[in-house]
C-alpha cells in the first residue's frame, strides 16, 4: 500500500501545480474589480485606485502568481482582501461546519442508499416494488434546496421540532449540534442516497444471477442469509466507488443547503468570496478542493481493495 501511495505522489503534485495555475487565472478571468467591490459602488475612481494599490493588485500577474506560490511553500495562503484575515484562518474557521455536515450527510447517504438498494434488490411483491420505485424516483428528482425548504417549512416553522437556522458545533455540544445538523444533512443526503440505492439494487440483481447464489439456495440457505452473506457483500464494490464520487457532490450541494439553513460553512465562504472577487480566498478554496478530491479518490481505491479481494492496487 505504501508503495502505491508513493507512486501516486508525482501525479498528485502535477495535478496540484496545474490546479494552482487554473485557480489563479479563473477568478481573474471573471469581469469585475476586487478594489471596486471593496471600496463600494459609490466610491470615486481615486478611492478605488488607492485600494487597488494597497492590495497589490496594480502589480503584474506573474508577480502576483509568484508571490502566491512562494507563500504557499511557506504555508501562507494569502490574506483576504475583504476582511484582512489570512485565507487559511478563514477556511479553517469554516471547515468544521462543512465537514460535520458532509460526514453526517455521508453517513445518512450510505445507510439510506444501501438500505434502499437492499430493499429494491430483494425479491418483492408488485405493490412494494412500485412503492420503492416511486420513492426512489421522487428522491432522485428532488433537489436539496427544495427538500431543504420543505423541511424548514414543515419541521421548523409549522411544527417546530428541530432548529432550521444556524449551527452549534458537535465538538461544543454534541446533543444540540446534531439537532442543527439533522435537517440539512437529510436534505443533502436524500437525492444521493436514492442514486446509490439504484446502483446497489442493480448490482444485487446481477449478483443474484451468479452460480454461487444458486448453489446457496440449492443448499437450503435461508433467503435473508443469502442476501446479507452472499449477494450484498459482492454488490458493494460499485456502491463504494459511487459513494466516493458522491462525497464530492455532497460538498457541492452543501453550498445550497448551507444557505437555506444559514450555516456558515465553506460553501457560504466560497459564494461570498466569488461575489466580492476575494481572489486569494477563492484560490485557496479551489486548490483545497482539488486536494480533497484527489485524496478521496485514493481513499476509494484503498477501500475497494478491502471489499473485493480480486482488486489489487498493484494492478491499477
Amino acid at each position: 500500500m505504501t508503495g502505491h501511495l508513493l507512486r501516486r505522489l508525482p501525479s498528485l503534485a502535477l495535478v496540484l501545480l496545474v490546479s494552482s495555475v487554473i485557480a489563479f487565472a479563473l477568478p481573474r478571468l471573471a469581469p469585475g474589480d476586487p478594489a471596486a467591490a471593496i471600496a463600494g459602488a459609490d466610491a470615486s475612481p481615486r478611492a478605488v485606485a488607492e485600494v487597488r494599490a494597497e492590495l497589490g493588485l496594480d502589480r503584474s500577474l506573474p508577480a502576483q502568481y509568484a508571490d502566491w506560490i512562494t507563500g504557499l511553500g511557506s504555508g501562507d495562503f494569502g490574506t483576504s482582501f475583504v476582511n484582512g484575515r489570512p485565507a487559511a484562518e478563514l477556511i479553517a474557521s469554516r471547515l468544521g461546519s462543512t465537514v460535520e455536515l458532509a460526514i453526517v450527510a455521508a453517513i445518512l447517504m450510505t445507510v439510506l442508499g444501501v438500505g434502499l438498494g437492499v430493499l429494491g434488490g430483494t425479491p418483492r411483491g408488485k405493490v412494494s416494488r412500485a412503492v420503492l420505485d416511486l420513492t426512489g424516483s421522487v428522491l432522485l428528482a428532488a433537489p436539496p434546496f427544495l427538500t431543504g425548504l420543505l423541511l424548514v417549512l414543515l419541521l421548523g416553522i409549522a411544527f417546530p421540532v428541530l432548529p432550521v437556522s444556524g449551527e452549534v458545533s458537535l465538538l461544543d455540544d454534541p446533543g444540540i449540534g446534531i439537532q442543527y445538523l439533522i435537517l440539512p444533512a437529510v436534505a443533502l443526503a436524500l437525492p444521493q442516497a436514492a442514486a446509490i440505492g439504484r446502483l446497489v439494487e442493480t448490482a444485487m440483481r446481477q449478483a443474484r444471477q451468479e452460480d454461487y447464489v444458486d448453489l446457496a439456495v440449492a443448499k437450503g440457505v435461508p433467503p435473508g442469509r443469502v442476501t446479507w452473506r452472499h449477494v450484498l457483500p459482492n454488490s458493494l464494490g460499485t456502491a463504494v466507488v459511487a459513494i466516493g464520487l458522491r462525497v464530492g457532490e455532497l460538498l457541492a450541494g452543501a453550498i445550497v443547503v448551507e444557505a437555506v439553513f444559514a450555516r456558515n460553512g465553506l460553501g457560504a465562504l466560497a459564494v461570498e468570496s466569488v461575489k466580492n472577487r476575494d481572489y486569494l480566498v477563492i484560490q485557496a478554496l479551489i486548490l483545497g478542493s482539488v486536494l480533497v478530491a484527489a485524496l478521496i479518490q485514493i481513499l476509494t481505491e484503498l477501500l475497494l481493495t478491502r471489499l473485493d479481494p480480486r482488486v489489487r492496487l498493484e494492478a491499477r
Binding site: 476582511n83 484582512g84 444501501v114 416553522i157 432548529p163 446534531i178 456558515n264 461575489k275 478491502r306
Partner: protein
C-alpha cells in the same frame, strides 16, 4: 506475489456504518431540544440582562467603519458613537459633542466635547481623537460617502482636551450629515480596524469576537457613562445572506431583529403581529442617461424617457405600493423640498412619443445596464415596456454586482443604466456631493457651469435661502433630465415584538443603549 488485504472485514464495515447511524439517532432523541434552547427566557419590562440576537444579510466591515455600509448597520453605532446624531425630525442632537457654535460667516465651528466619554480601553476621549477621525473621513481609501464634505474642512484644531475648532473656506449645509455619519475612532488602535483585531470605540457595547462572514459578538460595556445602561448583557450579529433563511431565522425565533429583508417580504412578515417594521431610510432608484452619446446627447430624447416612465406602476408592482413616486433626488422629508416639482414628469406616453419624434431618435437602440439584483431587474421589466412604447428599442445588459460596481466607478455604464443609492436621510447639500448619479464625475457625464453654480447655491444655503436654491436647482436638473428618479423606496429592519427600546437612526444604524428583551 499475491497479497492478502489487511484491515477491517466487509462485515465490520457494514456493521460500522449502521452503528454510527444508530449513535446519531440516539444523540438526537436523548438530548436537550435546540428549539427550546433557542426560544430564550426573556423577562417582561426593561430589566437588565439577556443577549440580543440580530441578523444581517451582509458581513461587518470594520475596516470601513467611517462609511455607511449595510454590513455595519447592526453594530457600528453600538460600539462607536458620533459627535452628533440627526433625529427623526432632522434636528441634530448631541452625542459625544455637548454643544456647537458657528461664527457669523458659518465658516468656523467650535465644538465642545463631553468630558466623561471613555474608549473601551479606558482612555478618555479627547479633541485629538475627534480631529483624527474627521481627518480619516477625508481620506478616499476609508470610503466615507462624505469624504468630499470632510475635505471641505480646511483646518481642524484641538483646543485643549475637550474643544475642537473647525475652519472652512466656504459655508456648507452638510456638516451635521458628516457628524452623524462619522464615528469617533480611537487614534491609538485605528490600525486594528483593518482586520477587526482591535475595534475600540466609546459606545455601550464592546467588540468581543468576529468570525468573518459568520457572526459577531459584542458584550456590555460595564464602564459606559450612562448609569444602568445598556440593559443587555450582549449582542450577537449573525450573517445570513439567503433571503429565505433570513426570514426563517426571524420566524423561528433565532433572532429578534433582521436587516436586509426585502420590502415586499417585510410587509408580509408584519401580517403576523409578532413582527413590526423599523424605518431604516430608503433607496433612490434612478435611470441615468449618458449625455455625451447618442441618443441621449439630445435633451428631448432624455425628456422623452422622463415622460415615458410609469412610476406608479413601478411603485405598485415592484414595491407593493410602499414607495414614494417622485422625480426629485432629495429625501422626501428634506427642508425646502420643492413639492410642486416632484411630479413634473407624470407618465405621459403620448408626450414621450412626440419628443422622440422631435429628437429624431425613433427606433434608437438603447442598451440599459443594470446589476443582477432582483429589484433593478423588476424595474427594468417595466422601464423596458415604457421605452418601447415611447419609440426606443431597449435591451438589457445585466452584469453581476462586482462587474457593475467596477463599471460604475469607471464611468462606463453605457447610454442608459439603472442605479440604486441608499442615501435617503442625507440632506440635499450632502446628496449633491455623495450621490454618484449627481456628483462631479457622474456616470451621465453631465457637467455645466450653471449646474455647478446652482449646486453651490444649495450647498451654501441658509435657512432663508434653502427653498429657493433647491427649487432652482431641481428645475434645472429636471429640464436637463440626465438622471431620472423612478421611485424612492422605503427600507426597513424587521423587529420581533419581544424586542423593545431599540432605535434605528437615519441611514439605518441600530442603537441599542435602551434596548431590552421582553415577552
Amino acid at each position: 506475489m499475491r497479497t492478502s488485504p489487511q484491515g477491517p472485514s466487509r462485515r465490520l464495515l457494514l456493521a460500522g456504518g449502521l452503528g454510527v447511524a444508530g449513535v446519531s439517532l440516539f444523540s438526537l432523541t436523548g438530548c436537550q431540544s435546540a428549539v427550546d434552547a433557542g426560544a430564550g427566557d426573556a423577562a417582561a419590562g426593561p430589566v437588565r440582562g439577556g443577549v440580543l440576537n440580530l441578523a444581517a444579510n451582509a458581513d461587518a466591515q470594520p475596516a470601513f467603519v467611517l462609511a455607511n455600509r449595510a454590513g455595519n448597520w447592526l453594530w457600528r453605532r453600538l460600539v462607536f458613537e458620533p459627535l452628533a446624531e440627526i433625529d427623526a425630525s432632522g434636528t441634530p442632537q448631541p452625542v459625544l459633542a455637548k454643544s456647537w457654535a458657528f461664527d457669523e460667516a458659518r465658516t468656523k465651528v467650535t465644538i465642545e466635547l463631553r468630558d466623561d466619554a471613555k474608549f473601551h480601553s479606558g482612555r478618555a476621549l479627547t479633541a485629538a481623537d475627534v480631529k483624527f477621525s474627521l481627518e480619516q473621513a477625508a481620506i478616499p481609501a476609508n470610503a466615507s460617502q462624505l469624504a468630499a464634505v470632510a475635505q471641505k474642512i480646511t483646518r481642524i484644531e484641538a483646543d485643549g482636551d475637550h474643544r475642537v475648532v473647525l475652519t472652512l473656506d466656504r459655508p456648507t449645509d452638510s456638516l451635521f450629515d458628516l457628524f452623524h455619519l462619522t464615528m469617533i475612532v480611537d487614534s491609538e488602535t485605528f490600525a486594528g480596524l483593518a482586520d477587526g483585531a482591535k475595534v475600540v470605540g466609546t459606545g455601550p457595547f464592546v467588540w468581543k469576537e468576529w468570525k468573518p462572514g459568520a457572526s459577531l459578538s459584542l458584550e456590555r460595556n460595564p464602564s459606559y457613562r450612562v448609569p444602568e445602561r445598556p440593559y443587555l448583557d450582549g449582542v450577537t450579529v449573525s450573517v445570513i445572506t439567503d433571503p429565505t433563511a433570513l426570514q426563517s431565522a426571524l420566524r423561528g425565533g433565532r433572532v429578534q431583529l433582521a436587516a436586509g429583508i426585502g420590502t415586499k417580504d417585510a410587509g408580509l412578515l408584519t401580517k403576523d403581529d409578532k413582527f413590526s417594521l423599523e424605518n431604516a431610510g430608503g433607496v433612490f432608484y434612478p435611470l441615468g442617461l449618458d449625455v455625451t452619446a447618442a441618443p441621449f446627447d439630445k435633451k428631448e430624447a432624455r425628456q422623452a424617457v422622463a415622460y415615458a416612465i410609469d412610476r406608479e406602476r413601478i411603485k405598485d408592482q415592484v414595491f407593493g405600493g410602499d414607495a414614494t413616486v417622485t422625480d426629485l433626488w432629495w429625501s422626501p422629508g428634506q427642508d425646502g423640498y420643492p413639492q410642486d416639482l416632484a411630479t413634473k414628469y407624470s407618465y405621459d406616453p403620448a408626450k414621450a412619443r412626440e419628443l422622440v419624434e422631435k429628437a429624431g431618435v425613433k427606433g434608437a437602440k438603447v442598451p440599459i445596464t443594470l446589476a443582477n439584483l432582483p429589484i433593478p431587474q423588476s424595474i427594468f421589466e417595466i422601464v423596458q415596456n415604457n421605452l418601447r412604447e415611447a419609440g426606443f428599442e431597449p435591451v438589457a445588459e445585466v452584469l453581476d454586482t462586482a462587474q457593475f460596481d467596477a463599471r460604475q466607478v469607471e464611468g462606463k455604464l453605457g447610454p442608459a443604466f439603472l442605479l440604486l443609492h441608499g442615501m435617503v436621510g442625507f440632506s440635499a447639500a450632502t446628496i449633491l456631493d455623495a450621490m454618484p448619479s449627481l456628483r462631479a464625475g457622474n456616470p451621465s457625464k453631465f457637467t455645466t457651469d450653471e449646474y455647478d453654480d446652482l449646486r453651490t447655491a444649495v450647498q451654501e444655503a441658509t435657512d432663508d435661502t434653502r427653498a429657493t436654491a433647491l427649487s432652482g436647482l431641481s428645475d434645472y436638473m429636471l429640464d436637463e433630465a440626465f438622471s431620472n428618479v423612478t421611485v424612492v423606496a422605503n427600507q426597513y429592519h424587521v423587529k420581533a415584538r419581544a424586542l423593545a427600546g431599540v432605535q434605528v437612526v437615519a441611514l439605518g444604524s441600530v442603537v441599542a443603549t435602551d434596548a431590552y428583551l421582553t415577552k
